[in-house]
């Protein structure tokens, strides 16, 4: 049982590329933490430094209470699952799973027991004699998972394990990994660029960009109160709509004026937005927080939009809207019939509006 503590972690490549910048993170015992971000954000490098596959330029990594900076990967008591499965092609499934145990000099009986146990959990018992090339992608990834769990490590590391699978299998394996974690109850660090995986798997999610940690928190915390425009735009699909607005003092409160629409700034945001009066800020609103207006919506939050594209997904319908010179996406009930060229009046949900500083992009 172990927590992972990352202190002021930095990685430089060839002195001038600063891939990971001062990362601080505490991963609690038994916690499932997901590092997410666009490619090149430093998430994989961070994971590889925890694994010991990449040298640490400065800072510390602790597993349990031990500083592991100088420990070789084999002595860190971790197991890692790779994106390309990294199964040993010349060994059978059984030998793939047993390799780590053999290397540690475990006796044959115990190895057989552990491999069988892992194979049962993952439902790969009947493939134990096969070679990896005789397996499908999903089966291979199961073997890779099995190879990690037979070791009973202190920490699991996952490096985009589902990226090579097709969409349907990915969803299925995602659920299995989640189940596996609740069953094994081991600390896990999971790297992905897929925000859906991050939101669904993580007890906590770490959003990274350009080597910097942007925000750490529980999935919904990140979704509902992103600290900046990047986190707001990265999580959620379809992505949050952003519109530049000028904050103006109107009668009875602040108003946000985009040339396409003018809305009343909700009272609870008022005090925070007050210093920005007379300046431009960025308004963020998620597609599901724009509703087709009816009489009950306060007129100060309504605006007109023209439908450009209708995407019917079944469970919901996405409308690409032209609002002034702005394009926005709204997710509406599938029962709403709309077609290209329709003019529809929308209302924004006041408690779900986000405002970001125009230059720093930090949440206001």
């Amino acid at each position: 049982m172990a927590r992972v503590l990352i202190r002021n972690l930095n990685k430089f490549y060839d002195k001038d590329v600063h891939a990971v910048k001062d990362v601080n993170l505490e991963i609690r015992d038994k916690e499932f933490v997901v590092l997410v971000g666009p490619s090149g954000c430093g998430k994989t490098t961070t994971l590889r430094m925890v694994a010991g596959l990449e040298s640490i330029s400065s800072g510390q990594v602790l597993i349990g209470d031990t500083v592991v900076n100088e420990l070789p990967p084999m002595d860190r008591d971790i197991a890692m699952v790779f994106q390309n499965y990294a199964l040993y092609p010349h060994m059978s499934v059984y030998d793939n799973m047993a390799f780590g145990l053999k290397m540690r000099g475990m006796d044959r009986g115990e190895i057989a027991k552990r491999v069988q146990e892992a194979a049962d959990i993952l439902g790969i018992g009947e493939y134990l004699r096969r070679k990896p090339r005789q397996l499908s992608g999903g089966q291979r990834q199961r073997v890779a998972l099995g190879r990690a769990i037979v070791r009973h490590p202190q920490v699991f590391l996952f490096d985009e394990p589902l990226s090579n699978l097709d969409a349907k299998l990915r969803v299925q394996m995602r659920v299995e990994i989640k189940k596996l974690h609740s069953r094994l109850n081991t600390t896990a660090v999971y790297v992905t660029h897929d925000q859906v995986e991050a939101m669904t798997l993580g007890d906590r999610v770490v959003v990274m960009r350009g080597g910097l940690v942007q925000q750490v928190g529980e999935p919904l915390e990140l979704y509902n109160t992103p600290v900046n425009r990047f986190v707001a735009g990265f999580l959620g699909s379809p992505a949050m709509n952003f519109a530049p607005v000028a904050v103006r003092d109107g009668d009875g409160g602040l108003r946000a004026d985009n040339r396409g629409f003018v809305i009343d700034v909700p009272a609870e945001v008022g005090p925070r937005l007050r210093p920005y009066a007379g300046r431009d800020v960025i308004l963020g609103v998620r597609p599901e927080d724009m509703q087709v207006a009816n009489g009950s919506h306060p007129p100060g939050l309504c605006f007109d939009a023209m439908v450009e594209v209708v995407e019917r997904l079944g469970a919901e319908t996405l409308l690409d809207l032209q609002v002034g010179d702005q394009t926005m996406v709204a997710a509406v009930e599938p029962t709403i019939s709309a077609k290209r060229g329709d003019k529809i009046r929308f209302a924004m949900r006041p408690e779900r509006l986000h405002f970001f500083d125009a230059t720093s992009e930090a949440a206001i």
Partner: protein
């Protein structure tokens, strides 16, 4: 494949293929025919009525028995085998370690070193034998098998290193990383994971190295002088061509028997060997 009418397959596939095969195999056929042709046919004038260069009506094993009993041919075969095997083992061992290091380890001048090794391979042997002869003389190794065993690696090691380097680079890095997390040291990961996967490449390098040393001529000609030390390639050409007299029958019998071990090795490993050349590692 060639599609369309049947004649297209003949014109564009079978006929060119047949021409190609005939062209390639003709020298071997000539070698075979000459080695079993009796002397009275071999030296018959081409204007003679019964002149038949492409076949013989009276095949004989006379040249082959002469070769085996009256020359040191068997001794030459043993010499060549001994030299080729040991220099292949040495070169393969060094090539494995060097190829692995250059493709996997990060160290200063790794790239420069790799290019350097390649450049040494490009220096022609016809230039290199002059300084090497001096070195061989200084170590008093002239006219011993060691003169060749120690000089063949000068071109075999760069060759093996480069071939294996390419092969190691094609093996996903994650396999080794995973092994190291699984509890293997770098050495064990190399031994249990990388080398078994690279086996086709290692075999190819070994076969090539063996063939190159088996066929080598210049060093063997320069560094060996006494008849009983010679290798097949030098022995046959120097001992069976006396002045301007060519013992064609025995020459060709020697060439034929000399190519048997190489042909045997090729056919034995052909599957691995082809896999090695196409360099496929399937996950």
């Amino acid at each position: 494949m060639i599609e369309g009418a049947k004649w297209r397959r003949w014109v564009y596939f079978y006929v060119p293929l047949a021409v190609f095969v005939l062209w390639l195999l003709f020298p071997f056929y000539w070698m075979l025919v000459t080695s079993v042709r009796p002397d009275r046919e071999l030296y018959r004038a081409w204007t003679a009525v019964n002149y038949a260069p492409f076949w013989t009506a009276h095949p004989t094993l006379e040249h082959i028995t002469d070769l085996l009993t009256e020359t040191l041919f068997i001794r030459w075969m043993i010499n060549t085998l001994f030299i080729a095997l040991i220099s292949t083992v040495i070169s393969l061992f060094c090539g494995l370690l060097a190829g692995y290091a250059l493709s996997r380890l990060k160290f200063r001048f790794a790239g420069t070193l790799g290019t350097g090794i390649f450049i040494t391979y490009l220096v022609p042997q016809t230039l290199l034998f002059i300084p090497l002869a001096d070195i061989i003389r200084s170590f008093q190794l002239g006219d011993t098998p060691w003169a060749l065993i120690l000089t063949y690696p000068t071109f075999l090691i760069p060759f093996c290193t480069w071939l294996l380097m390419g092969y190691f680079k094609a093996i996903p890095r994650e396999l080794e990383e995973c092994a190291r997390i699984d509890g293997a040291t770098r050495w064990k990961a190399m031994l249990y994971i990388i080398f078994p996967i690279a086996l086709p490449g290692i075999l190819s390098a070994g076969i090539f190295a063996f063939t190159l040393s088996w066929n080598e001529f210049i060093y063997a000609l320069v560094f060996l002088s006494s008849a009983e030390q010679k290798t097949v390639s030098v022995g046959v050409t120097s001992e069976l061509v006396r002045g301007d007299v060519f013992y064609w029958g025995q020459l060709m019998a020697g060439a034929l028997l000399g190519s048997v071990p190489v042909a045997f090795i090729y056919s034995f490993f052909v599957e691995h060997y082809v896999a090695g050349l196409t360099g496929s590692v399937k996950g």
